[in-house]
Structure formats: structure tokens, C-alpha cells
């Protein structure tokens, strides 16, 4: 046993509340934002540090319920996080009921799904909660039987005293346990003693999913509920002038048509308060189809926006964000980005003397990469239920980061924070899109206006043309090569609209004596947001494609060249801010090398490799591809992952497979074009998403086995897929690919 002595658990406190009719409920919360502790250090971004909370509920009839603190959007936290609790609680996992915790400001400190941080953040607090509850149950048994706690054992939800042949289940002990003071310094199992963590467990919600039960906000119903839809401008850079609803109001089932302003003038936006359009025309009626039809009859006039300034008050600071006027276009964006590549940019990092190295180089290779805006397109379109009354503001919402909604709801709806009640539903995908809860405020404003319960529904078109895209990016990689084929310097310069993706301290920083990284940004009125592995999803594709081409240029094996650079960076790291662990990076490359039989591959193998580190986990992929009738066929993908302790191998493998499929799809097909401010892809018949027949024929997932605390898998396996695919396609076609989506470039003669 090891003492749980991290700051987080020392300073945590547990509240115990007796339930009416017996049973106990343990709530826990942490003051972790005060702490520069190890959990904080594993967070992708220190500013993003959030707390986790959860519940254990035991009833006298021996039902054990574990509340999942983090909203579920498909990474299987409804299973893996309660597994952490139960590893220590030691209830009968097959009978444990898991339930999504509601958003509850007074009780909880934080609920956050994003940044692949759920595993890392839950690791000690959730096990500590389970251990604390188990200790209280054991103490209750010890008191009742008048025996020392040390003589008790716990297994499958039963506390036993062997010497006196007595036993009791958790339910029988729960009421007495709830009256005890919670211990503050519990011991946690050593990893080697885990009996649940590390075993493959099925999704706890699986049966409800395959039966089609009501799980999603889109499915939610409420007595007297009306349906609302909003009309937003047809283009970025446009706003509402006026509307005429005469015809729409004559349509059957229509209750009301009005306009709303989402954020009040001067509202200081919090970190996830992005919204594309601030003034919307809303149609409210009895049923979805009636509202869909009526809104076509609303005659709306739009006018161009002025350049505006917005205040973003987030992450402990405040900044102004310029939202320029104008109707932007993808072709113009490409020209602007190429122009920025020719201008001086912001220096992000410089090691040694890259200028001299480039001036003395025998050869310089320079390659420029670009990628378009991407739409998240979660399968469940955006929706939110709201019922605002004088007593309370009740929401049923699919939101990744409920904790950061409070400022938004309080300010823009004028509702005191303690009147907000929010049921958090399972989300039909998110990928970052549902971090931005403007739709919660919109639903609230609509309910306030019509004084009725209402569900706001976005159609697919509403969502896809509503911005919050992955930014569009460009980056140039440059290498100086001397007469003996040594790479003497690396230069990286890039940016994006409206933000860039150069991560100056990531590999290959640290492996080159002479290194420079520069960045720039171009403001835009097209709104962007976090998209599965923000920034990394582009920069990894460019970096890993460039390293491949560089290795080829200097006559080295691409996988071995990466290993060589990492070993160099480990032995003699250049600079002090390199944010990767070379050993763990090497381990995933070695593993993928072994499992893909890389060294013995045929000389003409159509095979590519890539590796990346982001969001605290390491991933490497080897992709095999063949071309058939001008279309790539992905024959096989072998993946090697290091995410520390693997909590639920079943879910973990599924996540990696999904990331591989998603990566291939976005790399080949993904892209949102803008013309004169208008998003050109409006639905799934225009925006191409990977389908069954385009998915890899086989995916093999391998994990590095180690004892590092677990880190996430939602994002890390995704970015290196792009580069591995591009490098394989080069082998299959002889064509290096620089601009996404790759299929467009492949088909260019």
C-alpha cells in the first residue's frame, strides 16, 4: 500500500450527507487550482487546469452507484472514471450503476471534458474517493462487530471478518458509515495490486445505446415543451438588419417569431464563449417539422458587420479580440497566408545560429504545408433544452465544459448562479465543438422570451455553417544540409487564420544545435475553436511529412532517422524548454517498428510512419496503403501508444481505432471552403466524412506497458495519422503531399 500524499488529496475534503431513508452520499471536491502539483503538471496547459468531482451513492438495498463527474461525448469516461473509483471502493463492478453527475455549482468544483485530461485528473482524486468510502464502510463494520478494522477484508461489495465468520454487504453498512467522519489520509493500492484497472471492461451504457434509449439532449422531452430553431446570417461578416415574419406566423403550429441578441453589449467572454453570430431570428412552434417549414417563410434582411472589438476575460487575463468586417474567402486566405510567410514574424524560439548554418549549407530543402478549416460535425446536431422560471433556470444540455458556462449564463440571462440547474446528457460526439455553449444561452433567452419550456434544435446546416471551425493553417519547414549530408539547422515558420499551430518546444526542437521557430496570425471574422488535438492536428502532419522527406533527402530510413534524432535529443538536449520525454517517444517508435515488422518490409512497400506527442500521451502509427482506381485503400494501420497505465484496455483500443479512422478521413477529405463569407459545405452530402468502405481494413493497437500515471487518448493518437498517411501515399504514388485534404492534391495532375 502507498500513502496518498499528493497535495491534491491532502487538501481535499469530503462531505458526507445522510440520505433520507438511509444510505450515504459522499461528495468530494478539491482546491487543486491553488496547487502547482503533479496533476497540474500533466495538464496540457497549466491555464486549463480544472478540478474533478464525483459521487458514490450506496442504498440500504445494496445498490452502488458511482457518478461520473465528466460529461461523456464518446471517450468512454462513463466507464473508465467510475472504474477508478471502484478499484478502491471494491464494490461488485458487474452490479455497479454508473450515472452522469449533474452540473451543481455549490457542491462541485469542476466538470470538464476536453484536452484529453480526464484520466490524469481523475487518477488520484477518484481512487481516493473510492478508498475513503471503503474505509468508512469498514469502520462501520468494525464498530458493529467490535473488531479491529485491520482484521477486515473487502471483496465484491462485502466486508468480512474471517475470524468471527461475519460479513455484511455495503448496503447494510452504508447508513452507519455515513455517520462517521471521513478519514483524511487514506492509503491507495499499488498499481501491482489493481484488480479492475487494466482489465478490459465493456461500456456501462452499451445496452442503452444499442436499444436506442433516450440518452441525448436531442431526445429529451418535457411536458409542454416547444421547439425552437434559429436563423443566422448566411455569411460571416453579416448581421441582422430586419425581418418580416408575417407569412411564417400564418403557418400551422407556429407560436412566435422574434430576434435575440446572444451576448449583451460589452459582455466579457470567458474562455469557451465563442459564438459566430450574435443576433438571431428565432422561430418557435409545436413540432420540429412545422418549425423547419415556417422558418423558410421568414423574410430576413442582412447587412455587413462593422469591425468590432470583443473582450476576452479568461485564463486569469484579459485581452481584446479584433473581429474584422468583410466577406472572406478561402482563395484570399491562401494568398494572405503565403504573404505572411514572406514577412518577418514573431520569434518563438531560437537555438544556436541558424542564419549562419543556412548561409553555409550545401543544400537547403524548404517545404510549405497547408490545411483548411474543418467542421467538427458531431453526429448529434447541436441542441439544448431550457425552462426558465422565476424559481430556477433549468437546462438539459450537451456541454463539454459546463463549469465555464456560469459567467455566460449569469451575465447574458441575468440569472443568479445559484438558480442554475443543469442536467448533463451524453453527447452525440463533440470533438471540441461542444466546448462552446452559446446554444445554452440561446435556449435560455428563448425560454425567457416565450415563458415556456423549449428545446432549441440546430439542423445539420445550422451547425455546419455556424463557424467554430478548426483554423486554417500554413507552415514552412526548412532544413540546412551540409556537404556530408548532416542536417545543420531547422527553421519553422507558420501561422493560421485566426491562430497558428507552431509549437516551438516540441520535437524536433532539442535535436538540432541550430533551430528557429516563428509564428504569425491573421485576424478573421470566421470563428474557430478547439478541434480534436488543437494545433497538433495540423503541425504534426507537416512536421512528420517533412521529417520523412528530410530523411529521404539525406539517405536515411525515416523511422530510424526519428529514433536517431530522439536519441540525440536525449543525450544532448538543445535548449531547456523541450516539452517531450525522449525515452517515451523512442519507446512508441520502437514498438511500432517491431509490431509492423518495419525493418523486414519489402523495398517497394507502400508504407509510411509518423509519431507525435501531445496532450500527455505518445503515439506512433505505421500505415499501409495501396491505390485502386485512383483511390487510396488503407490496408492496415499498426499503432503504438504510451498513455501510461491503461485503465480500460477495451475502451482504449476503441479510442485509438477511432482516432485512426478520423485522422484518415480528415486528412483525405476534410475541408470547409469559404466564399465571400459563405461556408460552401452545408451538409453531409457536401462535407465529406470517411465512410465504411474507406476505413482501414485492419487496425492493430499496441500499448507500451509502464507504470506512469494514466494520460488520455481522445486526442493523442489523432495527429500522427495524417503524416503516416501522407508518407505512405508518397510511397504508393511517388507524390509528396503538402496541402490538405490530400485527396484533392492526389487528384491534381
Amino acid at each position: 500500500m502507498e500513502k496518498s500524499t499528493n497535495n491534491q488529496s491532502r487538501r481535499s475534503f469530503l462531505k458526507v450527507t445522510s440520505l433520507t431513508g438511509g444510505g450515504m452520499m459522499i461528495g468530494f471536491s478539491w482546491l487543486a487550482n491553488l496547487l502547482p502539483n503533479e496533476a497540474l503538471a500533466t495538464a496540457a496547459n497549466a491555464n486549463d487546469w480544472v478540478e474533478l468531482t464525483g459521487f458514490i451513492k450506496i442504498t440500504p438495498d445494496n445498490q452502488v452507484k458511482i457518478f461520473n463527474p465528466n460529461p461523456e461525448f464518446g471517450t468512454n469516461v462513463m466507464t473508465s472514471l467510475p472504474m477508478m473509483v471502484n478499484e478502491e471502493l471494491q464494490a461488485d463492478w458487474s452490479k455497479v450503476i454508473v450515472e452522469m453527475g449533474d452540473y451543481d455549482t455549490p457542491r462541485f468544483k469542476s466538470q470538464f471534458t476536453g484536452g484529453s485530461r480526464g484520466m490524469a485528473q481523475g487518477w488520484k482524486p477518484l481512487r481516493t474517493a473510492g478508498a475513503t468510502a471503503r474505509m468508512m464502510l469498514m469502520q462501520a463494520a468494525a464498530n458493529e462487530w467490535n473488531v479491529p478494522v485491520a482484521e477486515l477484508t473487502v471483496a465484491n461489495g462485502v466486508v468480512s471478518h474471517k475470524a468471527s465468520n461475519r460479513s455484511a454487504n455495503f448496503g447494510a453498512l452504508a447508513t452507519a458509515a455515513s455517520k462517521l467522519t471521513a478519514p483524511t489520509n487514506v492509503e491507495l493500492k499499488k498499481n501491482s495490486a489493481f484488480s479492475l484497472i487494466g482489465t478490459p471492461q465493456k461500456n456501462k451504457v452499451g445496452k442503452d445505446i444499442v436499444a436506442g434509449h433516450s440518452l441525448f439532449t436531442m431526445d429529451y422531452k418535457h411536458e409542454g415543451m416547444l421547439i425552437a430553431m434559429a436563423i443566422h446570417p448566411p455569411a460571416f461578416g453579416m448581421t441582422l438588419k430586419s425581418f418580416d415574419a408575417t407569412e411564417a406566423l400564418k403557418m400551422p403550429g407556429i407560436k412566435s417569431v422574434f430576434d435575440i441578441q446572444v451576448y449583451k453589449d460589452g459582455y466579457k467572454r470567458a474562455g469557451f464563449d465563442t459564438r459566430a453570430f450574435n443576433k438571431l431570428v428565432v422561430v418557435v412552434g409545436n413540432s420540429t417539422w412545422e418549425v423547419m417549414n415556417a422558418r423558410k417563410k421568414v423574410n430576413v434582411q442582412w447587412i455587413p458587420t462593422e469591425t468590432t472589438k470583443e473582450i476576452v476575460a479568461a485564463w486569469g487575463g484579459q485581452r481584446e479580440e479584433i473581429v474584422p468586417a468583410g466577406l472572406e474567402s478561402t482563395d484570399e486566405h491562401m494568398k494572405q497566408m503565403y504573404a505572411m510567410q514572406q514577412k518577418p514574424a514573431k520569434l518563438l524560439r531560437k537555438d544556436g545560429d541558424p542564419e549562419t548554418a543556412f548561409s553555409k549549407a550545401a543544400k537547403v530543402i524548404e517545404r510549405t504545408y497547408s490545411a483548411p478549416f474543418l467542421s467538427h460535425n458531431p453526429m448529434e446536431p447541436i441542441s439544448c433544452f431550457a425552462h426558465i422560471t422565476d424559481e430556477k433556470a433549468y437546462f438539459v444540455a450537451p456541454i463539454q465544459i459546463p463549469e465555464m458556462m456560469k459567467q455566460n449564463i449569469v451575465s447574458n440571462l441575468g440569472i443568479p448562479g445559484d438558480k442554475i440547474e443543469m442536467k448533463l446528457t451524453r453527447m452525440g460526439g463533440g470533438f471540441g465543438r461542444r466546448a462552446y455553449g452559446h446554444y445554452i444561452v440561446e435556449a435560455g433567452l428563448i425560454s425567457q422570451k416565450i415563458k415556456a419550456p423549449v428545446k432549441l434544435i440546430y439542423t445539420r446546416e445550422d451547425d455546419m455553417t455556424n463557424g467554430i471551425y478548426r483554423p486554417t493553417y500554413m507552415v514552412t519547414y526548412k532544413a540546412a544540409i551540409d556537404a556530408t549530408n548532416n542536417v545543420t539547422a531547422i527553421a519553422i515558420k507558420g501561422g493560421g487564420i485566426p491562430e497558428g499551430a507552431v509549437h516551438e518546444n516540441r520535437f524536433p526542437a532539442g535535436a538540432f544545435e541550430n533551430y528557429i521557430a516563428e509564428g504569425w496570425e491573421i485576424p478573421s471574422n470566421i470563428t474557430i475553436g478547439a478541434f480534436r488535438a488543437p494545433g497538433s492536428n495540423f503541425i504534426a502532419s507537416a512536421e512528420q511529412s517533412f521529417l520523412d522527406e528530410l530523411a529521404e533527402t539525406i539517405g536515411k530510413d525515416p523511422l530510424d532517422y526519428r529514433l536517431e534524432l530522439l536519441r540525440k535529443a536525449k543525450a544532448n538536449p538543445v535548449g531547456k524548454r523541450n516539452d517531450y520525454d525522449a525515452d517515451r517517444y523512442i519507446a512508441v517508435l520502437e514498438l511500432v517498428k517491431e509490431k509492423s515488422n518495419w525493418a523486414a518490409r519489402p523495398k517497394n512497400a507502400k508504407r509510411g510512419v509518423a509519431a507525435y506527442f501531445c496532450h500527455s500521451s505518445y503515439a506512433a502509427h505505421v500505415v499501409d496503403v495501396t491505390m485502386k482506381d485512383g483511390q487510396p485503400v488503407i490496408d492496415k494501420v499498426v499503432s503504438a501508444i504510451d498513455c501510461g497505465v491503461i485503465v480500460n484496455p477495451e475502451g482504449a483500443v476503441n479510442m485509438v481505432e477511432g482516432a485512426v479512422v478520423d485522422g484518415i478521413g480528415n486528412a483525405l477529405y476534410g475541408g470547409m471552403r469559404i466564399e465571400k463569407g459563405v461556408p460552401m459545405q452545408k451538409n453531409l452530402n457536401q462535407y465529406r466524412i470517411i465512410r465504411h468502405k474507406e476505413a482501414p481494413k485492419k487496425i492493430e493497437v499496441h500499448f507500451v506497458q509502464n507504470n506512469f500515471d494514466p494520460t488520455g487518448l481522445g486526442e493523442p493518437p489523432f495527429p500522427p495519422v495524417f503524416g503516416a498517411l501522407a508518407n505512405a501515399l508518397y510511397k504508393a504514388t511517388g507524390k509528396r503531399l503538402y496541402n490538405q485534404p490530400y485527396l484533392n492534391e492526389l487528384n491534381k495532375s
Partner: protein, 156 residues
């Protein structure tokens, strides 16, 4: 508004709706059968897949007026038909297919219809029959394996 008699999952229902209303919204809004999902509204994603006369069909593209006397089966009816979980649903659980889960009822409806006409589909037949159903989480590899497993278990 017009009245329509629909046979859904073996039961008769009368609804009074606009004749152009897609069956998707009749099921979801009027019959409270929410297992049939709204994904795109243009027949491109398959989240709304139902069976009409036993054949898989995208219910967002089917106006209620076009149904007539043809029987409709939804995911809720698939369970009722079999009396317990359908072999396809069981395979989905055994292979732990779902991630977010939103598209999976549509995927299952497409798979059930496929196995009715082709009890032992080849990989290519599965890929082809299932390519109208998008899974944004990318669970395709598991879906294919689950269909193969269901085929095996029902031909045993």
C-alpha cells in the same frame, strides 16, 4: 394537416400531421420513438435508418404520406420482434462497438436489414451496404466485426 394510420413495430398509430412530414419526425415528435436519430435531414448519414417493409431506409427522406399500409420497424421494434436483444445488438455489445453512440441505432438497423438479405455477407458486401451510415467517431472496424459475429451466431 391530415390523418394517417401507420403500422409501427406491429402496432397501429393514428397521427394528424402535415403530409410532407418525414417519418423521422413523426416517429420522434409524435410517437415518442426517439431511437431513430436526426443526423443530417438529407439522407446522407443514416442515423435515421428504419425498416419499411423490412428494407432499410432513411426516414428523413420518407414523407409520411408515402408510407400507406407498409409496416415500419424502428430500433425499438427490433427488440420487440426478437423478444430480447437482437443478435446484432448482442454482437454490438460483445464487441463494445460504440463511442458516442449516436449513430449506432441507425447502424444496427442497416446491419439487421443486410443480414436479412445476405446472412453471410462478405467484407465488401458489408462495406458497401453500410456505407450510407456515417460514424463520426470512426467505429467502422468494430461495426464490421460485429456484423460478421452476428452473421456467425445466427447461422450456427
Amino acid at each position: 394537416m391530415s390523418k394517417f394510420n401507420l403500422k409501427v413495430n406491429g402496432k397501429n398509430h393514428e397521427v394528424d400531421v402535415d403530409p410532407t412530414t418525414p417519418v423521422l419526425w413523426v416517429l420522434r415528435d409524435h410517437l415518442n420513438l426517439i431511437g431513430t436519430k436526426f443526423g443530417c435531414g438529407v439522407g446522407s448519414c443514416g442515423a435515421c435508418t428504419i425498416h419499411l417493409n423490412g428494407r432499410a431506409l432513411k426516414s428523413c427522406q420518407l414523407p409520411v404520406a408515402a408510407v400507406g399500409t407498409q409496416p415500419i420497424t424502428t430500433i425499438e421494434g427490433v427488440v420487440e420482434e426478437v423478444g430480447e436483444m437482437h443478435p446484432v445488438q448482442k454482437a454490438w455489445l460483445e464487441l463494445d462497438v460504440a463511442q458516442c453512440g449516436y449513430c449506432q441505432t441507425g447502424q444496427i438497423m442497416a446491419a439487421v436489414a443486410l443480414l436479412k438479405t445476405k446472412p453471410n455477407p462478405t467484407e465488401e458486401e458489408i462495406e458497401s451496404a453500410m456505407s450510407g451510415n456515417i460514424c463520426r467517431c470512426g467505429t467502422y472496424v468494430r461495426i464490421k466485426a460485429a456484423i460478421q459475429q452476428a452473421a456467425k451466431s445466427s447461422t450456427k
